[in-house]
């Protein structure tokens, strides 16, 4: 258990209760950062004390990422700023320097090695040595085991290939990795963005436990309940400037949101009730291997069907089956009452099914290409004559999309990869709405998106439903599912376990349905 001891050492024996009075562990003074002449961080001052959870809030593009990248040694701040660790000024020229100063970061895109084992990932770069500089694999595995046990992850095998793990498990590996090297400050960038509720609860427990040990934590999240559940202090950034640092007791939900967006948002889930029309999509005992089993459902025009479930419950797998990526192995799909076969995404698209995928960066966008090229990607056939793409139509389409979806961009020729997360999501949405689909499947439509963009996407969703589109929405955020859906289907272990009407769905019953039937499976996913 040397690890625990080592982790505990730099705590300077500061109990959590006296955190407020303790000197800052890490402090940023008057820090700015300029990229190509654009100041993305403006004279920000910021500090973290030992044993506190300091939440960092702001819309995407507010400067949070830049700030944490300065702290973790990726960027050097502009002249005039200063970083102090334990009161002493330091300068980081590489992530390695930051590591040495006890600052570790768990990134949003988990930076792991898929082909290596859990133990190896945890100790990459600082593995235990036996004699003559050779790695001590047994010691490595033993200490990895100890670290994971410490994080209450007894079910995670240290010899498992990381590539085969769930997001939640990979995140635990990341945290163990950070702790394995005496982290005194742990920066967590949206750690719960891709986690299901049960996993979120486990993660929050882990964070609390770390705080008790005196580790300082910078916690970035868009999810308000977590912030109120965890944070001691909150700092809000907007447009690269510091808006304020407050104790958590001084703020509430509404005031934080208005600090972030500079205005107040009246309604988080602007659900508009629209008339529900005729059945559009019907599934009859549709299965895909053992990942999706015997799903039957009816989706009507104007309806938003929410699918809730833990990660791995078969939600996304069901969407992929309807969309033809993993064609159904049995069962029947009807569209407007007629049976159809969907064996490929092209067929699905041509039948009027659209899918806004879960992983925006990997499945949704071609980041090096322009907004124009991304928006037209799914309907090139329709805007081309004799397979020659009509550039005029295409540009018009892209400009339309920018206007209609409120995409904040320099123009249709901006590269998609340069946009913020919310705007990227709008591009993906625009791509699919441009195909005039009858059925729109949205998988985690607001993951990793800031509050402002989130409500815009929700509003769009309602508008589309109002235009007669049938929408399936998959989400790990229970409030979103409850707030937006007309009907809620809960999946577990590849099966549909219950459906709720909007009126009867409460967080308690839906949450219970998500976890209940598959309690034995939950361990694997959790």
């Amino acid at each position: 258990m040397t690890d625990t001891g080592r982790t505990a050492k730099p705590m300077t024996a500061t109990p959590a209760s006296s955190a407020e009075t303790a000197p800052p562990l890490v402090e940023l003074r008057n820090t700015s950062k300029t990229f190509s002449g654009i100041k993305v961080l403006k004279n920000v001052g910021f500090d973290v004390r030992p044993g506190e959870v300091h939440a960092l809030l702001g819309e995407n593009g507010a400067g949070k990422s830049t700030l944490i990248k300065i702290l973790s040694g990726f960027h050097t701040p502009d002249e005039g700023g200063e970083i102090r660790v334990n009161g002493r000024p330091v300068s980081f020229s590489s992530p390695r320097d930051a590591r040495k100063a006890g600052i570790a970061t768990v990134y949003q895109e988990l930076l792991l090695f898929p082909d290596m084992t859990v133990a190896e990932n945890i100790f990459i770069g600082h593995a235990p040595r036996a004699g003559m500089g050779a790695l001590d694999w047994n010691e490595m595995r033993r200490r990895a085991r100890a670290l994971l046990d410490d994080l209450d992850s007894h079910d995670l095998d240290v010899d498992a290939r990381v590539g085969g793990l769930s997001v939640a498990n990979r995140q635990r590996v990341e945290i163990a990795k950070a702790l394995s090297q005496d982290a005194r400050l742990l920066i967590m960038d949206e750690p719960t963005a891709s986690l299901a509720d049960a996993d979120v609860r486990r993660l929050l427990d882990v964070v609390r436990r770390l705080r008790e040990r005196g580790v300082a934590i910078i916690y970035i999240s868009h999810r308000m309940p977590e912030i109120f559940a965890l944070a001691d202090r909150v700092t809000v950034l907007r447009d690269g400037a510091l808006i304020g640092t407050k104790d958590i007791e001084e703020v509430d939900d509404a005031s934080l949101v208005s600090m972030m967006v500079g205005r107040s948002i009246d309604q988080l889930f602007p659900k508009v009730v629209v008339p529900i029309g005729a059945p559009v999509l019907e599934l009859r005992k549709v299965s895909f291997k053992d990942e999706v089993q015997d799903i039957s459902l009816t989706l009507r025009a104007g309806e938003i069907l929410g699918i809730a479930g833990l990660v791995g419950s078969g939600r996304t797998e069901l969407a992929l089956t309807i969309f033809g990526i993993t064609p159904a192995t049995s069962g029947e799909i009807l569209l407007n009452g007629r049976p159809v076969t969907i064996r490929s995404p092209q067929q699905a698209r041509d039948l009027g099914i659209a899918y806004v995928p879960e992983d925006r960066g990997l499945q949704g966008l071609v980041k090096p290409q322009t907004i124009r090229e991304n928006v037209s990607m799914a309907l090139l056939d329709r805007i081309s004559k004799g397979s020659i793409v009509d550039r005029v139509k295409e540009s018009a389409l892209a400009r339309d999309a920018i206007a209609r979806f409120g995409i904040r961009a320099r123009g249709p020729e901006q590269r998609a990869g340069q946009l913020s997360g919310g705007n990227q999501q709008k591009v993906v949405l625009a791509k699919w709405v441009s195909t005039n689909p009858k059925v729109l499947i949205m998988d985690e439509p607001t993951r990793g998106i800031d509050v402002g963009a989130k409500s815009e996407i929700h509003a769009l969703m309602c508008k589309l439903a109002g235009e007669g589109l049938a929408v399936i929405m998959i989400s790990s955020e229970l409030p979103e599912v409850l707030g937006m859906s007309d009907r809620i289907m809960v999946m577990n272990g590849g099966r549909m376990v219950r459906t709720f009407d909007r009126s009867e769905a409460t967080p308690d019953v839906v949450g219970a349905a998500m976890t209940h039937a598959g309690a034995s499976h939950a361990g694997g996913a959790a």
């Binding site: 990229f35 699905a348 966008l365 071609v366 980041k367 990607m377 090139l380 020659i388 793409v389 020729e413």
Partner: protein, 316 residues
């Protein structure tokens, strides 16, 4: 618009300037360099490499590579002779059939890559050996000669004062540029190279796109084989050995990213001309062949280096 276009054309611009510079220097070195006869003749000599470089641009834009093109060229050349001489087919039929075999060979590459998910480098490394082996086995080391006079029009004749095959290259280059730049297929090619998964999720038939591109690569190698045979009036199984490296050099020099997603036909054509001008101009200036190879190697590294530096400055 302008920003993206600028970054897109940047490499081509750097290369264009380099080409002008090279042409200028070479013209100073030898008065024979900038003559119509020499330029047209160089066009004749670079046609086979040039033709194969066109589909190779597509292949590399999708993030793949095709190392088997030289072997396909050899196989098709041999089959042209075998079909005509040993099977007694009329020559036009033999030509068509040889090109078809080229397409078939490319299709097999495509199937191995798409169906069995073998990385293109490995798949075509294997077929590089396989196709060359077939060429050797089928030919039993025998050359086929004595083609009729009309056949040589393709490789040695002229149309309107310009070598016949240069017309073919020009037509193919314009066609390829149009397909890549203007059509849905070209879009699909870029999308597949830049993000294959997103392309698949956007309803682009990724496998079909790749299959078509590898088939085209084989088909064009077959056409190049026919032209090659016509130019040198004989058929040998070692034809086209090492062509793949020349082709890849031209394409990469032309700014096509080896990681996929980026590249243009214009760039490839400039790359081709640059390599050919260097080979020819240096020879005319009295530099020996081995010196020319060294220069081409240096230019390749330098060109990519220069465009890297420029683009880094531009992007900040």
């Amino acid at each position: 618009m302008t920003l993206s276009l600028r970054s897109f054309m940047r490499h081509e611009a750097v290369l264009g300037i380099l080409l002008v510079l090279v042409l200028f220097v070479l013209a100073q070195q030898s008065d024979k360099f900038f003559t119509t006869a020499n330029i047209l003749n160089q066009g004749r000599l670079m046609t086979e490499i040039g033709l194969i470089a066109l589909p190779m641009t597509f292949v590399i834009i999708t993030g793949g590579i095709d190392l088997s093109v030289g072997s396909i060229l050899g196989l098709c050349a041999i089959l042209l002779g075998v079909f005509w001489q040993n099977l007694g087919l009329p020559l036009p039929a033999a030509m068509a059939l040889a090109v078809c075999v080229g397409a078939l060979a490319g299709l097999v590459n495509g199937l191995i890559i798409t169906r069995f998910k073998v990385p293109p480098l490995i798949a075509t490394l294997a077929t590089l050996a396989l196709y060359r082996g077939l060429a050797e086995g089928i030919s039993q080391a025998r050359s086929v000669r004595g083609y009729p006079e009309w056949f040589f029009v393709l490789g040695q004749g002229e149309v309107l004062g310009v070598p016949t095959q240069l017309w073919i290259l020009i037509v193919f280059a314009i066609g390829a540029a149009a397909i890549l730049g203007l059509t849905t297929f070209g879009r699909a090619t870029y999308a597949v190279g830049a993000n294959e998964t997103a392309a698949r999720f956007s309803g682009i038939n990724v496998d079909r796109t790749k299959l078509l591109i590898y088939t085209a690569s084989g088909l064009v190698s077959g056409i190049a084989a026919v032209i090659f045979v016509s130019r040198v009036s004989t058929t040998r199984s070692d034809m086209g050995t090492g062509v793949e490296l020349d082709v890849i050099t031209a394409v990469v020099l032309g700014g096509t990213s080896i990681f996929g997603g980026r590249g243009t036909i214009i760039g490839t054509v400039i790359g081709l001309i640059l390599v050919q001008a260097l080979k020819n101009g240096l020879a005319l200036s009295g530099v020996k062949g081995d010196g020319t190879i060294v220069v081409i190697g240096v230019v390749l590294i330098f060109a990519i280096l220069a465009s890297n530096l420029f683009s880094r400055n531009g992007d900040g």
